[in-house]
Symmetry: D2
Subunit: 345 residues, 4 copies
C-alpha cells in the first residue's frame, strides 16, 4: 500500500475543491481505516464547493470534504473489537462525545461536542478514511453499494418521517431535493395512506412520481391548497415534511395541515420566517419540530429494515455516476438542480 | 314497511339459534334504524351457538345475536344530526356510557358500563337493527360491502397490531383464525419488515400466505424456534401477536421475542397460564399487553385508511357466503375450522 | 322559582356589559339547569368587555357572557342519567360535536364544530345556566368552591404543562398572568426540578413566588439569559411555557431552551412572530407546540388529582371577590393588571 | 500508595465472603482508578453471601464482590478525557458493549454482552476499583455521600416508577425492601396523587411511612383489597409496582389495578407464576412490564434531579453503617430483614 492517496480538499477560501496528494490517515486505537468504494455528494458539499457564508464561518482549512460513503475495512486499531478487516461498512459521520447530557439521553444527534467528519475533520472524498469504531455501520448483505453510500441523507429522510406517527396518515413533502424524494418512499413504507410532493421543478416532480408520490403538485402553476383539499376530501394532511427551506413553501404547509397535525422541518431557510402563532400554531394545536441528523442508531436500524425488506427502493433517485477524477462535472451537475443523487466512484 | 321482521335469536339455553318473527325495533331519539345488508359470524357467535360456559354466564335470553354488519339507514331519531336516511354504515357495537373515567380518558373500549349489542342487547342477525348515532360509522365510498361488514373483527386486528411500534419491526402472529389472518395484512401495511404466522391448520396457513405472511410455520411439524431464529438472522422478533389462546403457543412466543420486545395478547386462553416472570418478563424487559375491543374511534380511522388506500386487502380471508335462511350451514362451516370469514346476506 | 333572572350581557357593540333581566333558560333533554354560585373573570371576558377586534369578529349579540363557574344542579333533562338535582358541578364550556374526526380521536378540544358557552352561546354571568350533561364535571368533596370556579383556566395551565415531560425537568414560565401563575404550581406538582417565572410586573412576580417559583426574573431589569444560565448551571431549561404572547418574551425563550427541548405556546401574540428556523428550531432540535383548551377529559382528571391530593394550592392567586352587582369594579380590577383571579359571587 | 489492598471476595463455593489482600487494579487506557469511600450492600450481595442457586450458576470464582459505591478518582487512563483526578463519582456497574442492537437503540440496560462489575468481574468491596470512563457518574455537589453510594438501587426504583405515567396517578408498591421504599419517595416526587405500601414486616411498614407512603397496608392482617378500594373511592390504583417477588402479592396487585392500568415488575419471583390472562390482562386491558437495571443514562439524570431538588430524601431508609472490617455483622443485619440500606465505610 502506498503511503499517499488522492483526496478532494478545500485548501483555501473560494469556490471549488482541489484534488491533492496527501498521506493515508494513521488510525488511532479505536479507529478503523476504510478504503472508500463509493461516495455521494451532499447539499452540504455543494455549499462548501460554493463557499457560502455558512462554509466560511464553519470550516477550518485545509480539510478533506465529503461524508457519504461505502467502503471496506482494510485495517483495524488495537482497541477495535467488533469489526474485522474485509467488512463492508458505511458510518455515522457525526463523531459525538458520549459524555454530554444529550449523548447520554438518546439525543447524541444533538451532541454539544460533535465533530462532523468531512466538515470539521477530514472526510471521505479520498481513497482512504479513518473512522471510529463507535460510528461504523455494517452494511447488510444484499444492499446495493450505491444505497449504502447514501445512508447519511437517507437517514435524514427516515429521521424526519419517523419523528411522529405515519401509519394511515396523509403526508405532504415540500421540496423534492434528494432528501425530500427519499422521504416520499419512506413515508409510503412507513404506512402513510397518501403521500404528496410539492415541487416546482418538473425534473424533480418526475423523480417524485418514481419514488412513489400519489400526487405531485406544481405550486407555481396549480392551486396548491385546492389540490390538497380535493385529494384529501377536504381534510388537509396529517403531516407536513418541510424539505425546501423556502418561505413560500413553509407558509403553504400551514394552509393545508389538519388541526392537531405534525409539521416537521428539515430544510434550512436562509432567512428568518414569519409565523402567525395564533392562527398557525396555537388555535389549531400544531406541533412544529426541528430535525437534525440521524438518531444514533435507531434511525440506522430503520434504514436497514426498509432496504432489506425491499419496502424502499432508492434506485430512481440515484441519477448520476462519475469517477472521482471528474469531480468538477459531478459538482456542476449537482449545482444544476437537474439531478437526484450523484455518486463518485 | 311491515311491522315485523326475521331475526336469528337465542331463545332458550342450549345449542343453536332460532329464526323468529319479531317486531321491527322502535328507535329512540338518538338512534337510527338500519336495514342490514351483510352480516358476518364472529367467534363469539359460535360460542353463543354452542352455548358454552361464557355464554351461559353472560347472556339474558331471549336476545337477537350478531354484531358484525353493513347496512343502510332507513330511519333517523329526532336528535340525530350527523346522519341521514340512505347512508351506508356499519357500527361500533360496544355501547358505552361516555361518563365513566375510562370513557372520558380515551379508553372507552374498556368502559365500566358497556352494553354489547348482539350479546347484552339485540344485535344484527335480523332484517333491521337500531343503533345509537354515537356508534355509527359511515362506510367510505369504494369499500367492498363485505369488508364493511367485518370492521368489528378487523378493528380487533388493527387495535392489536397498532398497540405499539410496527414500522421496520419483525412480527409473529400466533394463530391464524380470522383476526390473526387480518393482523398479518395489517402488520405489513403498518410497515413491518417481516411477518410470520404460526398455525397448525394447513387450511389457515394457506390463507396466511394469501394475506401476506413472509413465512408460515407449522409448529407441530417444524422446529418453531429454529425457524424464527433463522428467518431473523438469530435476532428473534420485535413483536409477538398472540391470537390463539393456546398455552403452547403463548410459551413459544416467549422463546422467540427479542429483549425489550412487545408481546400483545388478544386470544383468550380457556385456562390460567404459567409464566416464569424472571426469565420471560423481567430480565429481558418484556412488555405484555392485554387488548380488548377497538379504540373509539382511532382504530376506525385507521381501518378506513388501510382499506381506502388499498394497503390492506381483506378478500382472501372472506371464504364463504350464505343467505340468512341457511344459517345452520353457515354456523356448521364456522365451527369446522375450515373457513375464514363467513358472510350472511 | 321566578321565571326571570339577572344576567350580565353584551347587548350591543362597544365597551362594557349590561346587567339585564332575562328568562331563566329552558333546558333540553340532554341538559341540566345549574344555579351558579361562583363565577370567575377570564381574560377572554376582559376582551369582550373592551370589545377588541377579536370580540367584534366572533360574537353575535346579544349574548350572556362568562364561562368559569361553580354551581348546583337544580333541574335535569329527561335524558340525563348520570347526574341528579343537588350535585355540585362545574363544566367544560366547549360544547363539541362528538362526530368530527378530532372529537373521535381524543382531540375534542380542537373540535371543528365547537360552540363555546359564554362566547358563542349564553354563558354563566347569570343566576342560572343550562349545560349539556356531556360537559358537566362533578366537583369532588373538599375542593374549595372558588377553586372549582376556575377549573377552566386551571385546565389551560394543566394542559400546557402536561403537553410533554416534566418530571425532573427545569421549566420556565414566560408571563405571570393567572394561567402562568397556575402553571408554576402545576409544574412543581408535576415533578419539575426547577421552575422559573419571567414577568415584568412586581405584583405578579410576587404572586409567582407565592405559587412556588424557585426564582422569579424581571426581564426588564435583570440579564434574563444570564440568570437562567446561572440557575441551571449553564444548561438552560428543558421546557419553556409561553404564557405572555409578547414577541420579546417569545424570543427570550429560545435563548435559554436546551437542545432537544420543548417550547409550548399558550399566550396569544397579537402580531406575527419572526423566527430563525435554522438557529431556533432545526439545529437545536426543538419542538414547538400550540396549546388550546383542555383535553376532554384527561385534563379534568389531572386537575382533580392535583387539588384533592393538595399538591396544588390555588389560594394565593385568587386575589379579589365582588358580588355580581359590583361587576364594573370587578372588570376594572381585572383590566388594571393588579390582580390574580377575580371571583364574582 | 501501597501495591496491595483489602478486598472482600468470594473465593470458593459456600456461605460467606473472605477479606483478602489483593493487588490494586491496574487500569486500562479507558478506565479510571477510584478510591472507594462508601459502599452499600445489595440484595444481590446477600444472595452471593448465601451462595444460592443463582450465585452458583452465575459467578466464576474468585471475584471481588459489591457494586454500590461512592468514591474519588485517584488515577486516570491515557484515553480518559472527561474526568480528572480528585473528582467524586459513582458508576453504572453494567459494563455494556455499545455495539449490540440493544445498546444502539437506547436499551443498553438490556445489552446482550453485559458484564456486571461485582458479579461477573471485580467489584467495589475493596479499597480501590477500576471503572471505565463510559460508566462513571459525577456526583453533584451537595449530594450526601451515602446517597451517592446507593445510586444503583435508587436507579432501579426510579426506572421502575418512571416506566410509565405517574403524575396524578394512584400507585401501590408491593414489598417494602430498600428498592420498594425508595420507590415510594420517587412516586411522590414524580407527582403521584396517592402512594400505598403493602408489606408484612412492621419494621418496613414503619420505614414506608417515613419515606412518604400515604397509607401502609399489612396484607396479612388487613383486608388488602377493601383497604385499597376505600382509599381510592372504589377506583383501585392506576399503577402497581411489584417489588416483592411473592406470588401472593403479585396476585393481590391484579385485584386492585384499574382497567387500562400499568403493572410493573421488578421483584424476582423464585418460582413460576400463574395468571388468568383473560381476567387479569386481556379483558381489563392491562400492561405488564418487566424492568431490569437502569436506563443509561436517562435514569441517572432523573436521580440527580430528584436529589438535587430535594424532592427525594433517602435518609430514612439508610439505617445502618459499619466499617468494612465488620462486614460479617453488616451481612447478618442485611439478612435479618430488620434493616433498610446498610453502608460499609
Amino acid at each position: 500500500m502506498s503511503s499517499t492517496m488522492k483526496a478532494l480538499r478545500k485548501v483555501e477560501p473560494g469556490v471549488g475543491l482541489v484534488m491533492c496528494d496527501v498521506p493515508i490517515p494513521k488510525i488511532r486505537a479505536n479507529e478503523v481505516l476504510v478504503k472508500v468504494h463509493k461516495r455521494a455528494i451532499c447539499g452540504t458539499d455543494l455549499h462548501i464547493w460554493s463557499w457560502d457564508a455558512w462554509s466560511e464561518g464553519r470550516l477550518r482549512l485545509p480539510v478533506t470534504t465529503g461524508h457519504e460513503f461505502y467502503g471496506e475495512i482494510v485495517e483495524i486499531g488495537a482497541d477495535v473489537s467488533h469489526y474485522r478487516v474485509g467488512e463492508l461498512v458505511t458510518a455515522e459521520m457525526h463523531v459525538v462525545c458520549n459524555q454530554c447530557s444529550l449523548c447520554r439521553t438518546g439525543q447524541a444527534h444533538l451532541c454539544d461536542n460533535v465533530v462532523i467528519l468531512g466538515v470539521d475533520g477530514d472526510g471521505i472524498f479520498a481513497e482512504y478514511t479513518a473512522i471510529p469504531e463507535f460510528n461504523l455501520w455494517r452494511v447488510p448483505k444484499g444492499i446495493d453499494p450505491e444505497w449504502a453510500a447514501i445512508y447519511d441523507p437517507f437517514g435524514n429522510a427516515v429521521h424526519t418521517v419517523m419523528a411522529g406517527e405515519t401509519i394511515g396518515k396523509s403526508v405532504i413533502v415540500l421540496g423534492g431535493g434528494p432528501i425530500g424524494l427519499m422521504a416520499i418512499a419512506v413515508a409510503k413504507a412507513a404506512g402513510a395512506s397518501q403521500v404528496f410532493l410539492s415541487e416546482v421543478s418538473p425534473y424533480r416532480r418526475n423523480l417524485g412520481k418514481k419514488m412513489g408520490a400519489d400526487r405531485v403538485i406544481n405550486p407555481s402553476e396549480e392551486d396548491f391548497e385546492a389540490v390538497v383539499r380535493e385529494e384529501t376530501k377536504g381534510q388537509g394532511v396529517d403531516v407536513v415534511l418541510e424539505m425546501s427551506g423556502h418561505p413560500a413553501a413553509i407558509a403553504q404547509g400551514f394552509r393545508v395541515i389538519k388541526k392537531g397535525g405534525r409539521y416537521t422541518l428539515l430544510g434550512i431557510p436562509s432567512k428568518p420566517v414569519t409565523l402567525d402563532f395564533a392562527r398557525d400554531l396555537i388555535f389549531p394545536g400544531i406541533t412544529l419540530q426541528g430535525i437534525n441528523g440521524r438518531r444514533m442508531f435507531e434511525t440506522w436500524y430503520q434504514m436497514d429494515a426498509f432496504l432489506v425488506s425491499k419496502r424502499v427502493d432508492l434506485s430512481p433517485m440515484i441519477t448520476h455516476r462519475f469517477p472521482m477524477s471528474e469531480f468538477k462535472r459531478a459538482f456542476e451537475t449537482g449545482l444544476s438542480g437537474q439531478s437526484g443523487k450523484i455518486i463518485l466512484t
